[in-house]
Amino acid sequence: MSDIVNLDNLRALTDGDVDTELELFDLFYESSAECLAALKACLETGEGEIWRKQAHALKGIALGLGAQELGDLCKQAQDQWEASLDTKQKMLAEIRDCQENVETFLRNVHGV
């Protein structure tokens, strides 16, 4: 089974610099938490366009990191921005679970 995050591309871009990698991980934790909070808020307000934009944003971060599965879930949420509330709740739950798995993986990479 492949890892939930493939860091090969990221490491090629950062030239394997550990400090840079850790800074990027921190940015991922921070940015993904903001996106998840915004997506959750959209469920209450019914804002479809903001939902689409936040899903798009998290997709970009996830794919930039190398978290393909998380990126795919976000793409699905982005494409289905007009879906029913029930469907969106399910999509958000899946995204949140996957984001937690990614975060756990990243925290174990350098033991921090």
């Binding site: 871009l13 990027l24 794919l63 930039g64």
Partner: protein, 288 residues
């Protein structure tokens, strides 16, 4: 000898003309701006005739009259020599009320180098209505900003390292790109369209990586504006969507590249290589 005189609605045509000659393979161009009041007794036809006779060997001048204020004369060929001839014609025809003005020929410039500055100055004279769709987005600049932008543009060729502007609303993406590019380039970043526009005016970057979907609008709008305003611009669109419509819009805006996210080291390097080739001495003259 082709001479064109237009009495009204001349500014848009003048801008189109300048933008046309700022492209490569047009050879040397010269431009003189003449104070129209100095030649008040002359009709437009009389002025054209005088120019035609004096510049018979000077190429193909084109004459534009901007109301009663200024006359723009363009010619292709030996810029300095033709300019001297033109100045002689003007001085010989002077009939300004209240004596001879000290500087009837207001300006001489090389439109290939100064086309951007000239077009921006001319656009400022147009009535205060949106000229293109992009101007509805609020991409405006005061005269001070425009002047600063012109000055910075002049420095492009003398920069030790090309300057790259990275525009993305995600700090994560900005950091990846910035850290990678800093190895060989100077880098500025912006997170919104408005930040990007302000930074562009202040820095006149050599290359801009521009995200399509930003929090305060669409990167295509800014790309279109930049490519219209700055003939020396090199813009690469970056998008996580990769929709056909995005690619078509990028083509329509005549941007210089398109990268789909997630980007990798190969497609960024490929993009930088194409940028370097576009600036190589072999292609000198392509960009003012």
């Amino acid at each position: 000898m082709l001479i064109q005189a237009i009495d009204r609605d001349v500014v848009p045509q003048l801008i189109a003309f300048i933008e046309g000659i700022s492209r490569p393979s047009t050879g040397t161009f010269g431009l003189a701006v003449i104070d129209r009041t100095c030649l008040a007794p002359l009709t437009n036809d009389q002025f054209i005739l005088a120019i035609e006779l004096a510049l018979a060997e000077g190429g193909s001048p084109r004459v534009f009259f901007l109301g009663t204020e200024e006359i723009y004369v363009f010619w292709q060929g030996l810029a300095q020599r033709v300019f001297a001839q033109l100045k002689d014609v003007v001085l010989s025809k002077l009939a300004a009320p209240g004596g001879t003005p000290s500087n009837p020929v207001i300006a001489f410039m090389d439109p290939q180098v100064q086309a951007n500055a000239l077009c921006l100055a001319l656009r400022a004279r147009l009535p205060n209505v949106p000229k293109t769709e992009t101007e509805f987005q609020g991409f405006t600049a005061c005269q001070t900003q425009i002047n600063l932008f012109h000055s910075v543009c002049q420095l492009r060729r003398s920069r030790q390292k090309p300057l790259i502007l990275v525009v993305d609303d995600q700090a994560f993406i900005r950091k990846i790109l910035k850290d990678f590019l800093l190895r060989d380039f100077a880098v500025e970043t912006a997170s919104t369209l408005q930040d990007a526009w302000g930074t562009y005016l202040n820095c006149a970057p050599d290359l801009t990586f521009l995200d399509v979907e930003l929090g305060d609008g669409n990167g295509h709008d800014l790309a279109c504006h930049i490519k219209t305003m700055d003939a020396g611009a090199y813009v690469v669109m970056v998008t996580g969507n990769n929709y056909l419509s995005d690619i078509e819009q990028a083509k329509k805006n005549k941007v210089d590249g398109f990268i789909a996210k997630p980007f990798n080291i190969q497609n960024i390097r490929g993009c930088l290589d194409r940028f370097a080739q576009s600036r190589s001495p072999l292609k000198k003259g392509m960009r003012p």
